[in-house]
């Protein structure tokens, strides 16, 4: 399944000199600042790549962005300011975590909605079935039930 992805990647690397993400010469001396830069980089998209963060990408643009992020951090920006700066420059496309707004409500809302609606349907269905088929189930006494459970366990019935 990585085939297409790999093909894209490879095509973007037509030059014989391939280098991968985060070069040693890009990294900041200050380990705290560098760690922040890495964490930020993982949230930012390399816009010419297919869904890759600038931390993972080896495209020249990703390199430029990594350097830019580090420059902003050195200049004393907060993480938020760096993100805002990049969004002002490149649009929301640069953020791998789309911010919640009117056009991403459906995106962020779907996972909890799927769970809630699914759960709701299941509860309704269980209730409906109990109403329709109340007599279908003959109750066993608790001792009978224990005996059945024991027998089932003994037979290791799956």
């Amino acid at each position: 399944m990585r085939v297409l992805y790999a093909t894209m990647l490879a095509v973007s690397l037509l030059a014989p000199t391939v280098s991968w993400a985060v070069q040693p010469d890009e990294m900041l001396r200050d380990p705290v600042l560098e760690a922040r830069a890495r964490a930020l980089s993982k949230e930012l998209r390399c816009m010419v790549c297919q869904n890759e963060s600038i931390d993972d990408s080896d495209a020249p643009l990703a390199h430029d962005l990594r350097v830019l992020v580090r420059e902003r951090l050195k200049a004393g920006d907060t993480d938020q300011q760096v993100q805002d700066f990049l969004v002002a420059r490149y649009g929301e496309f640069v953020l791998l975590r789309p911010p919640l707004s009117w056009h991403t409500v459906a995106l962020w809302g779907l996972p909890p909605a799927a769970l809630l609606i699914g759960g709701f349907i299941i509860v309704l269905d269980l209730r409906r079935r109990r109403r329709i088929l109340p007599a279908a189930e003959e109750r066993l006494s608790s001792s009978e039930e224990a005996r059945v459970a024991e027998l089932l366990r003994d037979n290791a019935g799956s």
């Binding site: 399944m1 790999a6 990647l9 391939v18 869904n51 779907l110 996972p111 459970a149 290791a156």
Partner: protein
């Protein structure tokens, strides 16, 4: 000549598929057993002709016949035989040929081994299978023909994309396609059941082995692709939430849900309507995956619009099959009888819980993958949905699933005893807490949530062990008796335990690597020493090594323990392919238990310093090892007696299953 033979065979296969798609359905409508029995031999014949076409294409590759455009574009005579062969599916046309070959192969299997199926069900299912086959044969012949010739044959081919020249890729796409296409059987049976308007527990028993087989292949295919990305892309990432990966994850999630709901249907004749829907969804998601990967829509909506022929064709296939299936479902599903009452806390209840969370997770991946495409197509607005989105949506959905998983097998059918199940899981929970505490105490750095991840993973694994321990009554009765119980247990019980243990192991691997992996990036010169985790690596320098169709620059590292004892050497490689003027990284891996040291090499700079990336990946092998254990679990389940001896014969089935309806 060979290419023309292949082309001709494929055209004949299309013809046969059209016969197979229509005649048996006419047979079931007019109640004509002759027409219905036509389905099986025609399915076999269709497979033979597709196989001839695929074989012809493979022969063109093996013989390096560069007068065939597809071979010229994707192969090279200097490539080793194995890669000339795997190049067949290393490109669009060839991979579509692989797709239809596997589809026809499954059709042939149903034709051969489906003797115990009721004739109308078999005829309808094979006909639906043939509709899919016909659509894709037509797609290949009209938009993606691999047999086209070049008038003036070039002497040498352009080589397979170097990144694909790898043993991992020899097996990854076929496994994945076996999974994708395997779900077509469940789909065809679901449609056949809807056409007939009746379905019973036996249906689930017929379909389950196919789903299980497809799921096993998909599991291994996804894991294989992940491992390939891990060592080939040079920085040890194993999952990227890339749309192409999501395309394979969605059918896996739906297929896993289907596997579980089919159990309920088989044992308790409940969840019939839902199981049918899942069978439709699993294959629909496979089709969507094929569309996403093959249409170019992922690169950008615009790239899709520039050359839309293939994309539009697959989209049409998609709309026809998914839309048609869902419409048929909406129309016919209300006819199906529901059965089986159960309490919320019961084995069925746990499986419903599983289905709720798996399908929600699947919906999450679906919306994350397609939302940006839809938004751009509708409003022109571009957004990115990347790993951070999935980490904060998909992750939380998996936590409850994992926590409930160990309870499922311990609960009884119809009405379960939660107190007794909890008591039996106490030991597992205790071990999980110990692991959690240990992770807190001994691992530093990493997210605060990580030790909880370890705890959940251990709980899942120990839960699976508990299930087996309880059923064999180990430590409570003499060993001999335990042994007899262990081998006497249905294999599907073992299968469940293995699969659940496997997912726990995978989770443990993912959490460990993500939270506590260490990384060291530096430009180094020969003689320099780098410490990673508790290992010390000395860079001894680089040397050149020629290969068949590439040349290598190999870095040599000596690996020592912190004590100074030499434990081996590692040779990361930069591989340059002159035919395409491209290079790949071949990372060096050293396995220590289930953890790995990982070294990859960059291009030397002007001063002679070589950029290197060194990683220590704790427990990383558990990620794929867990997937392999899941695969084994599937295999054990598949060998279960009740599936091995097949479903009851139709005549018996009627009497045996009548009360269940």
């Amino acid at each position: 000549m060979i290419a023309e033979l292949g082309h001709y065979a494929l055209t004949l296969a299309l013809g046969l598929a059209l016969i197979q798609a229509t005649m048996p359905i006419v047979g079931t409508r007019t109640n004509d057993p002759m027409l219905m029995s036509l389905a099986a031999p025609v399915a076999l014949a269709q497979f033979i002709f597709v196989a001839i076409a695929f074989g012809a294409l493979a022969e063109c590759y093996v013989a390096s016949d560069f007068s065939v455009l597809n071979v010229y574009e994707n192969s090279n005579s200097a490539m080793p035989l194995i890669y000339r062969l795997t190049s067949v599916w290393g490109n669009h046309e060839g991979s579509m040929m692989l797709w239809v070959s596997i589809l026809a192969f499954f059709g042939a299997l149903v034709a051969l081994f489906g003797n115990n199926l009721p004739l109308p069900l078999k005829a309808n299912a094979l006909a639906v299978q043939a509709w899919i086959a016909a659509a894709f044969h037509l797609f290949i012949l009209t938009t993606s023909n691999p047999f086209l010739r070049i008038p003036d044959a070039p002497l040498e081919g352009r080589d397979l994309n170097p990144i694909l020249q790898d043993p991992g890729l020899a097996f990854h796409p076929p496994m994945l396609y076996l999974g994708y296409v395997g779900f077509s059987i469940a789909f065809s049976f679901a449609i056949a059941a809807l056409i007939e308007g009746r379905i019973d527990a036996a249906w689930a028993r017929w379909v389950r082995p196919w789903v299980l087989g497809a799921w096993m292949c998909l599991t291994l295919g996804i894991a294989g692709g992940s491992y390939w990305a891990y060592y080939e892309l040079g920085w040890g990432g194993f999952w990227f939430w890339d749309p192409v990966e999501n395309a394979s994850l969605m059918p896996w999630l739906a297929g896993t849900a289907l596997l579980h709901s089919a159990v309920v249907m088989e044992k308790r004749a409940a969840l019939k309507v839902w199981t049918i829907l899942l069978a439709i969804l699993a294959f629909s998601l496979s089709l969507i995956g094929t569309f996403l990967v093959r249409s170019g829509v992922l690169t950008s909506v615009h790239a899709f619009a520039v050359d839309p022929r293939r994309g539009i064709f697959i989209l049409a296939i998609l709309v026809f099959f998914i839309g048609g299936a869902l419409a048929l479902y909406a129309w016919r599903a209300p006819l199906l009888k529901q059965g089986g009452l159960f309490a919320p806390i019961s084995r069925e209840g746990a499986l419903v819980f599983n289905n709720l969370f798996l399908t929600s997770a699947c919906a999450t991946v679906f919306v994350g993958t397609l939302y940006p495409l839809a938004l751009e197509a509708l409003t022109g607005e571009k957004i990115s949905v990347g790993p951070p989105f999935y980490n904060s949506t998909f992750g939380p959905l998996f936590v409850p699933l994992m926590l409930v998983m160990p309870f499922g097998p311990l609960l009884g059918w119809k009405r379960g005893d939660i107190v007794s199940a909890t008591q039996r899981l106490l030991a597992a929970a205790l071990l999980a807490l110990v692991a959690l505490a240990a992770a807190f105490a001994f691992e530093h750095g990493g997210p605060v949530m990580a030790p909880f991840g370890v705890g959940i993973a251990v709980f899942v694994m120990m839960g699976a062990v508990t299930d087996i321990a309880e059923r064999t009554m180990i430590l409570r009765i003499p060993f001999n008796a335990v042994w007899h119980r262990a081998i006497g247990m249905p294999r599907s019980v073992w299968g469940t335990a293995f699969a659940h243990f496997g997912i726990g192991a995978t989770l443990l691997g993912i959490v460990s690597v993500t939270a506590w992996g260490s990384e060291h990036i530096a430009a180094i010169k020969p003689g320099e020493v780098i410490d990673v985790s508790h290992y010390r690596l000395t860079f001894d320098g680089t040397f050149n090594r020629p290969g068949p169709n590439y040349s290598d620059v190999v870095g040599h590292f000596t690996v020592r323990r912190a004590s100074g004892e030499i434990i081996g050497s590692m040779e990361p490689t930069r591989r340059t392919f002159p035919a395409r003027n491209m290079a790949t990284t071949e990372a060096a891996l050293m396995t220590r238990g289930v953890s790995q040291l990982y070294v990859s090499l960059g291009d030397p700079d002007a001063s002679g310093a070589v950029p290197v990336r060194l990683y220590f990946k704790p427990n990383v092998l558990l990620i794929w090892g867990g997937a392999f254990i899941m695969f084994l679990g599937g295999g054990l389940s598949l060998s279960d007696r009740r599936l091995r001896i097949g479903a009851p014969h139709p005549a018996k089935a009627k009497t045996a299953l009548a009360p269940a309806e």
